[in-house]
Amino acid sequence: MSGIPTMLHYAKPLARLVAELEKLPGIGPKSAQRMAFYLLRIPREEAMQLAHAIAEVKEKIGFCRECFNFTDQELCDICRDTRRDRSLLCVVSEPRDLMAMERTNEFRGVYHVLQGVISPQDGIGPDVLRIRELQARLYENEIQEVILATNPTIEGDATAFYLARLLKPLGLKVTRIAHGLPAGGDLDYADQATLVSALQWRREM
């Protein structure tokens, strides 16, 4: 039961909607209530479009059997695209990181989505990630370089180091995306870890 006393006065279906909305990430009781009232107010068709969209993604969206990106086909758009460079594989932890890389319009290779990061304190080890599937792809395909694009956090670092150790013996070029000062950032405000990595990843001009 919710802690908000006014919940007691909601009609049952409305209380249920508020309770469901509250489960969404970043949504508190107040926002859930506001969203529920909004949905009540809009035309029926509009609300049904939302309901159908939710039902449809749950039905039709699955994982690409090659790269584990979200897709409504067996292979995702990127894996089906014959113009992509199959010698270059970028490893990301989540589909949203893949989307971020795609928005740059810079990367023309293919991806592999791990569906998580190694997080020792949370008990998330390499076994629950799509690492075995990654290894299988490397044995079979023409991949020459693996670019590790994990976050510059402890978990992202752990994942990148683990993969590098696993993949290097296969004779592949393994690289990691550079990290350091954020664009528009201030050198004076940067912490030691950021400055150290900015120094490590420096390049000749």
């Binding site: 990430p25 970043g26 190694i118 020792p120 304190q121 949370d122 008990g123 080890g125 390499p126 076994d127 956090t153 402890i154 670092d157 752990a158 180091f161 683990y162 150790r165 696993l166 013996p169 954020p182 528009g184 950032g185 405000y189 940067a190 912490d191 030691q192 870890a193 950021t194 150290v196 990595s197």
Partner: protein
């Protein structure tokens, strides 16, 4: 809101909403406490570096209704050497989880703070044998909590230990003489060398500690004893200890592969 300053090491963090973190800090002044770091997950946030695991910072915190809020921070060390090596990173993470597990909230204990901070610094210099620092820290943290294992005489009969054939019992909290070594179900066999090594781990000064070179047998027995003893005192296995195990498995697998 009243504010206070604290010397803090990040033991654990969880994500809160889209951009915030809740961090578990070990502070020198107030012991272990949870605090909110607002906006710490935004790229370029001044709090993002200071709220990473095992980073040491001087912080200013504001007393909040339920959780205190980090208002300012200056990173003293983010231990780049530990972050740059999987084996060290995994061990530093384990030290933090162990500390979090063994320490109560809001009980000031500057000795434990200093112990953890020096363990992190020493770990940076222990690339060859990082487990020396891990095991020394385990023993010293347990001693600080009143759980120093009995290594001088038999924990059951008080008798002297013979040169050979002794054992260690996690549940009895110490070594067993050759006469008593079958009396505990959880007894782990120990060589005399391992007992000497455990003594050194518990009391050696930093330079001596870094120079210790146990035999493979003593190192393996020590790891087994402390793994079980920590599990017994912490009431469960630590998650980062399991990750360390998986690293050891990977390392030995690759070792075998490279041998043919």
């Amino acid at each position: 809101m009243p504010v206070y300053n604290a010397d803090a090491i990040v033991l654990h963090r969880i994500l809160l909403g889209e951009t915030d973190k809740i961090v578990t800090l070990l502070t020198r002044e107030k012991g272990k406490l949870n605090a909110v770091a607002k906006g710490a997950r935004r790229a370029g946030s001044r709090l993002s570096g200071a709220t990473e695991l095992f980073t040491h910072s001087q912080m200013q915190l504001a007393v909040g209704k339920s959780l205190d809020i980090i208002s300012q921070c200056q990173v003293a060390s983010s231990f780049p050497t530990l972050r740059g090596d999987l084996e060290l990173l995994a061990r530093a993470t384990y030290l933090c989880e162990l500390t979090d597990r063994m320490i109560e909230e809001r009980e000031p204990n500057p000795e434990v703070f200093d112990l953890l901070l020096s363990a992190l610094y020493l770990l940076q210099r222990a690339q060859e044998r990082p487990d020396l620092i891990v095991h020394a820290y385990e023993l010293r943290l347990l001693a600080e909590r009143g759980y120093m294992p009995q290594l001088e005489a038999c924990v059951r009969c008080g008798g002297a230990l013979q040169r050979r054939q002794s054992a260690f019992s996690p549940s009895l909290g110490g070594v067993l003489c050759s006469g008593c070594r079958f009396s505990a179900q959880d007894a782990i066999a120990l060589h005399a060398e391992t007992i000497t090594f455990l003594h050194a781990l518990a009391s050696a000064d930093p330079e001596t500690l870094l120079a210790l070179a146990p035999s493979p047998a003593a190192a393996a027995e020590t790891a087994r004893c402390l793994r079980w003893y920590v599990r017994y005192r912490a009431d469960r296995d630590l998650k980062s200890a399991e990750f360390l195990d998986s690293l050891r498995v990977q390392a030995s697998r690759q070792h075998n592969v490279s041998r043919g």
